[in-house]
C-alpha cells in the first residue's frame, strides 16, 4: 500500500497557483482557438475522433498518487518535447503534431500471457476509470516538469491479459509510420522506438498508461493516443504512442540503451548520484523556474519504489 508522505520537495500550499486562475485563462484561449478553427473548417470537430484539447469525461483526481507541486504551464508541457519521431528540435513535435495519425489506432497485448489480443483504442481504454495523476517528470537531460496526466494503471491491463510464469519483462513498441512521421525518414534511432520494464516495475501502481493531460485528450506531441508514464525513471523510459505491449521472458532491447549503453541504462531510475557521462544528474531545472533544484533519488518516489531495487547496485544497474 502506498503511504503518502509529505516530502521536502512538496511546496507549501501558499506557493501554489490557484488552479482555476490559469485554467480559466488557458481554457479561454483554447476555446477561442477551437472556435476559430471550427469556423474556418466546419466539420473538423464533428469527426468523432478524440482530439487534443477535448475534455476527457469522468476523470477522478487521485490525491494519493499526486504531488501538489505547481503544475508546469500547459504551453510548456506541449511545446518542449523530446519525441524524435516528430523531429529532433524541442519545438518540432508541436509543429509536426498533425503528422501523427492517431486514428484508427490499435494496441496489441501479446507474448507470455493467456489472453493476448489486439484492441481498437476505444475498446482498450473504455473499461478503465480514468484518473488524474500529477507526477513529476525528470528528463535525462536534467530538466523537469510537473504534469497532471490522465490515465489508468498499466497493471490492470497486464492482469487482464493473465501473464504466464514466464512473463518477466514488459516490452513496449511505439508507432512506426515513416510515411507520415518526419523523424522516421532517417535512422536517427533504430525505429520503431522500443522501451521496457521489469514485471514488478510494470505492475507498480505508479506506472500508468496515459491518454490525457490537463484533463484533456493527450496532445499528439506528448505521445498520443496512448503512452506509458513511469515517474521514477528518466523520461525516455516512458514510451509514447504505444502500439504493442509484449510480455517477455528476457530483458528486452530498448532503443536508447542499444544506441549508447554506457549513457542510458535499461533501468534508468532517476539517480542524482550517477552522472550521465556527459553531464551531472545532481540537479535539474524545473521548467518555468530560474534556479536549478536538487534531483531526488527515484525522482522523489523512493518511498514507493526503492524496495524494488533492494540489494541491487544502482551504479552498475543505472
Amino acid at each position: 500500500m502506498l503511504i503518502r508522505v509529505k516530502r521536502r520537495s512538496d511546496p507549501k500550499p501558499s506557493e501554489l497557483t490557484p488552479k482555476s486562475v490559469y485554467e480559466d485563462r488557458r481554457r479561454f484561449l483554447r476555446t477561442a482557438a477551437v472556435a476559430g478553427a471550427s469556423a474556418a473548417f466546419p466539420g473538423l470537430l464533428v469527426s468523432g475522433a478524440a482530439r487534443a484539447g477535448r475534455k476527457l469525461p469522468r476523470v477522478r483526481h487521485n490525491p494519493d498518487y499526486s504531488t501538489d507541486e505547481t503544475w508546469t504551464d500547459y504551453d510548456d508541457i506541449t511545446s518542449y518535447n523530446n519525441f524524435l519521431e516528430l523531429g529532433t528540435g524541442k519545438e518540432d513535435p508541436k509543429e509536426n503534431a498533425h503528422r501523427l495519425k492517431t486514428r484508427p489506432w490499435s494496441v496489441a497485448v501479446e507474448g507470455e500471457c493467456e489472453r493476448p489480443g489486439v484492441y481498437d483504442l476505444e475498446d482498450f481504454v473504455k473499461p478503465h476509470r480514468l484518473e488524474e495523476r500529477v507526477y513529476r517528470l525528470r528528463c535525462v537531460e536534467a530538466w523537469s516538469m510537473v504534469i497532471p496526466w490522465v490515465g489508468f494503471e498499466l497493471r490492470t491491463v497486464l492482469k487482464a491479459a493473465r501473464p504466464t510464469s514466464k512473463a518477466k519483462y514488459v516490452a513496449f513498441e511505439s508507432v512506426y509510420d515513416p510515411k507520415n512521421l518526419p523523424g522516421q525518414r532517417r535512422r536517427i534511432l533504430d525505429w520503431p522506438y522500443k522501451e521496457g520494464l521489469r514485471m514488478d516495475e510494470a505492475m507498480h501502481p505508479l506506472t500508468i498508461l496515459a491518454v490525457g493531460l490537463y484533463g484533456e485528450v493527450l496532445p499528439n506531441q506528448n505521445g498520443a493516443p496512448l503512452r506509458v508514464v513511469v515517474p521514477w525513471k528518466y523520461g525516455f523510459k516512458s514510451a509514447k504512442s504505444i502500439v504493442r505491449i509484449r510480455l517477455v521472458e528476457k530483458q528486452p532491447p530498448t532503443t536508447w540503451n542499444t544506441l549508447a549503453p554506457d549513457e542510458y541504462g535499461f533501468y534508468s531510475n532517476v539517480n542524482p548520484e550517477v552522472d550521465h557521462p556527459r553531464w551531472s544528474q545532481k540537479k535539474e531545472r524545473r521548467i518555468g523556474e530560474f534556479f536549478k533544484r536538487r534531483t531526488l533519488p527515484f525522482n522523489g518516489y523512493a518511498d514507493e519504489v526503492a524496495h524494488l531495487y533492494a540489494g541491487m547496485d544502482l551504479r552498475k544497474y543505472y
Binding site: D73, D75, Y80, K90, E91, D275, R278, S280, K282, I287
Partner: protein, 207 residues
C-alpha cells in the same frame, strides 16, 4: 568591385552595416527574451543560439582568406578581424550564459564539468584559445609580433576544430547539424592545404 574597394565606402558604409548585422543575432535573443518568446527553457535557448553563432562566426572568419584567394578581391580581408572578434564576442556570451544563467556560479559544478565532461573541456579550451587571439588582434600587436602573429593566429584552426568537436559530442543522437559544420570546416581547411601546396603564400598576413 571598384566601389567596394574604395576605402570611404568600406569605412562608412559596408563596415558599419556588417557590424550591425553581426549584432543582429544577439539583438534577436534580447528581443525574444523581452517578448517571452524563448520557449519553455529560455536558458537552454540562449546557450544554443550563442553557441551556434560562435561557430558560424568562426567559419565566416575562416572563409575570408579562401574568398580573397578565389576571387582576387582584397576588400574581404578588411572584415576578417571584425568577424573573428564577433566569434569571440559570441563565445564569451555563450560561456557567460553557461556560468551565470545555467550554473549560477556553482563553482564546484562548473569545475567538475570542465574537468569531467569532454564536450565542456573541449568548448572551454576553445574559448581559452580565443582569448590571446582577441587580445592580439590590434594593428599594433600585429606589427609588434610580426611573423609570430601569423603563427599564433593559426590557433584559430584548432579553435574551429574544437568547436565542431564540442558540438558533435554534445548532441544525443542526430549528428546531422554538427556534421554539416564539420563538412564546411573541412572544405575551408582543405582549401588552404590545397592552395598552400600549389602556391607559396604571397602575403605574410594570410593565415
Amino acid at each position: 568591385m571598384r566601389n567596394f574597394s574604395s576605402s570611404r565606402w568600406l569605412r562608412f558604409g559596408l563596415k558599419p552595416a556588417v557590424f550591425l548585422l553581426a549584432l543582429a543575432p544577439i539583438g534577436l535573443v534580447v528581443w525574444d527574451a523581452w517578448q517571452d518568446a524563448l520557449g519553455a527553457n529560455p536558458i537552454e535557448a540562449v546557450t544554443h543560439r550563442t553557441g551556434d553563432w560562435t561557430l558560424r562566426f568562426l567559419l565566416l572568419t575562416l572563409g575570408i582568406t579562401p574568398l580573397r584567394r578565389i576571387t582576387g578581391w582584397r576588400w574581404p580581408m578588411r572584415f576578417r578581424r571584425m568577424l573573428g572578434l564577433f566569434a569571440f564576442f559570441y563565445a564569451t556570451l555563450h560561456l557567460a550564459t553557461w556560468l551565470v544563467l545555467d550554473q549560477f556560479f556553482d563553482w564546484q559544478a562548473i569545475v567538475e564539468d570542465i574537468v569531467k565532461r569532454p564536450y565542456i573541456t573541449v568548448g572551454f579550451t576553445a574559448w581559452l584559445l580565443l582569448v590571446p587571439l582577441a587580445a592580439t588582434s590590434t594593428r599594433g600587436m600585429m606589427r609588434r609580433l610580426g611573423s609570430r602573429w601569423v603563427r599564433l593566429h593559426r590557433l584559430v584552426y584548432l579553435v574551429a576544430v574544437l568547436g565542431v568537436l564540442h558540438f558533435w559530442w554534445l548532441v544525443k543522437a542526430d549528428v546531422l547539424e554538427p556534421a554539416v559544420y564539420a563538412l564546411i570546416l573541412s572544405a575551408l581547411l582543405g582549401y588552404r592545404m590545397f592552395a598552400n601546396r600549389r602556391t607559396r603564400l604571397r602575403s605574410p598576413v594570410t593565415a
